[in-house]
């Protein structure tokens, strides 16, 4: 059997991943038509390329259906309970940098820290009769972060896209989202809390700790790691 390597199936993340492997002597490529999700691995024997949505790679690693996978730290930590017992990070790939942050309207001149956010949330609840809404798709990470910092009187509302627009649309009062440059936040009149960094994320090569492996597959992974100069 072969070692299954999960890689994002489209876009910049896929291209950058191909580049990273290519620079180390392992050529990944898509085969067939542009629409067909099939791929090829050259430069090492016994590795099969599996093209997947980056968001599904954590789940597939945790289920042991792929041995290796490239995805963001943010997704692994959001989607997997006890992530470090399920997967092992082998190498940070140096791209796909993104920070999960908490941001509030720039016009909230009184709010700069989590301490301020908590106080504003209490007053907000008294005034409006419901808890301050924080829009995000990273429910677990944000909830854990806010709980650890003792912020109460908020609620998370789900937002799978265009999260920065939720404040203007009055479906949320604050957001927790991924940003790399902060441009989208600024364009939407939002500012990052000075202590509102939840997680720093980048594209990372993970190994599944639970995928079943025979001796041959174990050797293949060892050899691949040697070629990629990671261990």
């Amino acid at each position: 059997m072969s070692v299954k390597l999960g890689v994002p199936s489209k876009g910049r993340l896929m291209e950058k991943t191909f580049e990273w492997f290519g620079a180390r002597g392992v050529t990944l490529s898509r085969t067939g038509s542009d629409r067909e999700y099939a791929g090829r691995v050259e430069g090492v024997e016994g590795v099969e390329l599996v093209l997947l949505s980056a968001g599904e790679i954590p789940r597939e690693l945790a289920a042991g259906r792929i041995h290796l996978g490239v995805t963001g730290t943010d997704l692994v930590r959001e989607k997997l309970g006890q992530w470090d017992q399920v997967v092992e990070p082998l190498a940070e790939l140096g791209f796909g940098h993104a920070d999960l942050i908490i941001a509030v309207p720039a016009c909230w001149v009184d709010v700069d820290t989590l301490d301020d956010l908590d106080a504003a949330a209490t007053a907000f609840r008294e005034r409006h009769g419901f808890r301050m809404r924080v829009a995000t798709k990273y429910h677990r990470l944000v909830r854990e972060f806010l709980r650890d910092h003792g912020v109460a009187d908020y609620q998370l509302v789900d937002s799978q896209g265009a999260t920065e627009g939720t404040v203007k649309n009055e479906t949320a009062e604050a957001v927790a989202d991924i940003t790399s440059t902060g441009d989208t936040l600024r364009a939407n009149h939002l500012k990052i809390l000075s202590d509102g960094l939840v997680l720093k994320s980048q594209a990372t090569l993970f190994r599944s700790r639970v995928a079943p492996m025979d001796a041959g597959e174990r050797d293949t992974i060892k050899q691949l790691c040697r070629i990629l100069r990671v261990d």
């Binding site: 309970g81 006890q82 309207p105 720039a106 016009c107 909230w108 001149v109 009184d110 709010v111 700069d112 820290t113 301490d115 301020d116 908590d118 106080a119 504003a120 209490t122 007053a123 907000f124 005034r127 409006h128 808890r131 301050m132 429910h139 677990r140 909830r143 854990e144 806010l146 709980r147 650890d148 910092h149 003792g150 912020v151 109460a152 009187d153 908020y154 609620q155 998370l156 404040v167 203007k168 009055e170 009062e173 009149h189 500012k191 000075s194």
Partner: protein, 361 residues
């Protein structure tokens, strides 16, 4: 874990014991409307309970405990005084510890009685303790009421006391607030700049969202008032620290608390209540000298307990959760009673854990 049928039989036995104490049986649905629980506990409950939904009824929660439905039912049509018992599964999300069960049986005993709350505390503790039989357990007790009295008695502004009181159940933020209010931690630069600014809105950021400019202005006023207020004195912070660190057998803790109360008269009444509770426990045959009292006990649990709190733990098994827990939750009846309230105290036993311990001993 013992098989389900045996746990059920054990639950039935416990429930019969509680019925013999005069409690009437209580039943409720497994699926509870999520709104009430979310409103009470906020976002944290989502990390601890399973939330599901359908298009018709919206969000529902697999019951994380029976206390809220019992209180709701009692406030809606209960006669006073009342004692209730129930037995059934509760569901808790466990995302960080695969060894903790996410579904287990609970058997409860709850007392709604205005007459003598102190004696009701002792009654619940002793009924639960005797239901636990011969298992070798360590009992820990605490009293959130003493902490609330200490906060209420601080020589500082009402706004600060309110914030501290709100965060009694979040020890880390409580500490951060106390450090800020006492001047132990410096005022953040951004706040200094905000308070010094001639026009805080000079940045010209457009107004967006539901939180209005008036609300921002109101908070700036509150911050200015806070900056003008004298810091909480070092003496008071030290007393509060001493109080939070009290951790001894109940009689020794009481002596220690009486000493602290000399310098902190605000907790006098609450400490008197603790003394009367100790007597009431003794009267019911509890060996109070063997009870632990921890002033901080119950601070990290769900925040409905606001007085007496207790838990029973298996000796030498720190890996196991509490076999039984309980406490007083007067404020919860106030929140759910829509204008009415009644002193209430209760406790729950986990029959599965009890059987597991019996099997191991």
């Amino acid at each position: 874990m013992p098989e389900k049928a045996r746990v059920r039989a054990e639950a039935a036995r416990l429930r019969a014991l509680f019925e013999a104490e005069g409690a009437q049986g209580f039943e409720t649905s497994i699926l509870q409307p999520a709104e009430v629980l979310l409103d009470l506990y906020g976002e944290d409950i989502r990390a601890r309970a399973y939330v599901t939904s359908d298009a018709l009824r919206g969000e529902q929660m697999l019951r994380p405990d029976f206390t809220v439905p019992v209180v709701q039912a009692h406030m809606a049509y209960g006669a006073e005084p009342a004692r209730y018992t129930y037995a059934g599964e509760v569901f808790r999300r466990q995302e960080d510890d695969p060894d903790r069960e996410n579904e287990f049986m609970q058997v409860g005993y709850e007392v709604f009685d205005r007459e003598n709350p102190i004696d009701s505390d002792a009654e619940v503790f002793s009924v639960i303790q005797s239901a636990l039989g011969g298992a070798r357990l360590r009992a820990a007790t605490g009293d959130i009421g003493i902490l609330m009295a200490a906060v209420a008695g601080l020589q500082t502004t009402d706004a600060r006391k309110k914030a501290l009181r709100r965060h009694i159940w979040h020890p880390r933020r409580f500490r951060a607030l106390l450090d800020r209010y006492s001047g132990r931690s410096p005022v953040p630069a951004a706040r200094k700049a905000l308070l010094a600014a001639a026009d805080p809105f000079a940045g010209g950021a457009p107004e967006i969202g539901l939180r209005s400019r008036a609300e921002v202005e109101a908070r700036i006023e509150a911050l200015k008032a806070d900056a003008a207020a004298a810091p909480i004195s070092e003496r008071e912070v030290k007393l509060l620290d001493a109080l939070l660190q009290v951790r001894e057998t109940l009689p020794n803790a009481l002596e220690h608390l009486r000493d602290i109360a000399v310098d902190m008269p605000a907790i006098g009444k609450a400490v008197d209540r603790l003394a009367r509770r100790m007597k009431a426990l003794e009267k019911r045959g509890i060996d109070v000298a063997a009870l632990d009292f921890e002033a901080s006990y119950g601070r990290t649990s769900m925040e409905y307990y606001d007085g007496f709190v207790f838990g029973f733990y298996a000796e030498g098994r720190p890996d196991l959760p509490a076999v039984a827990t309980g406490g007083r939750y007067d404020a919860l009846t106030r929140v759910l009673g829509q204008g009415r309230e009644i002193p209430a105290v209760g406790g729950v036993v986990r029959p599965g854990l009890l059987l597991q311990l019996e099997a191991g001993q």
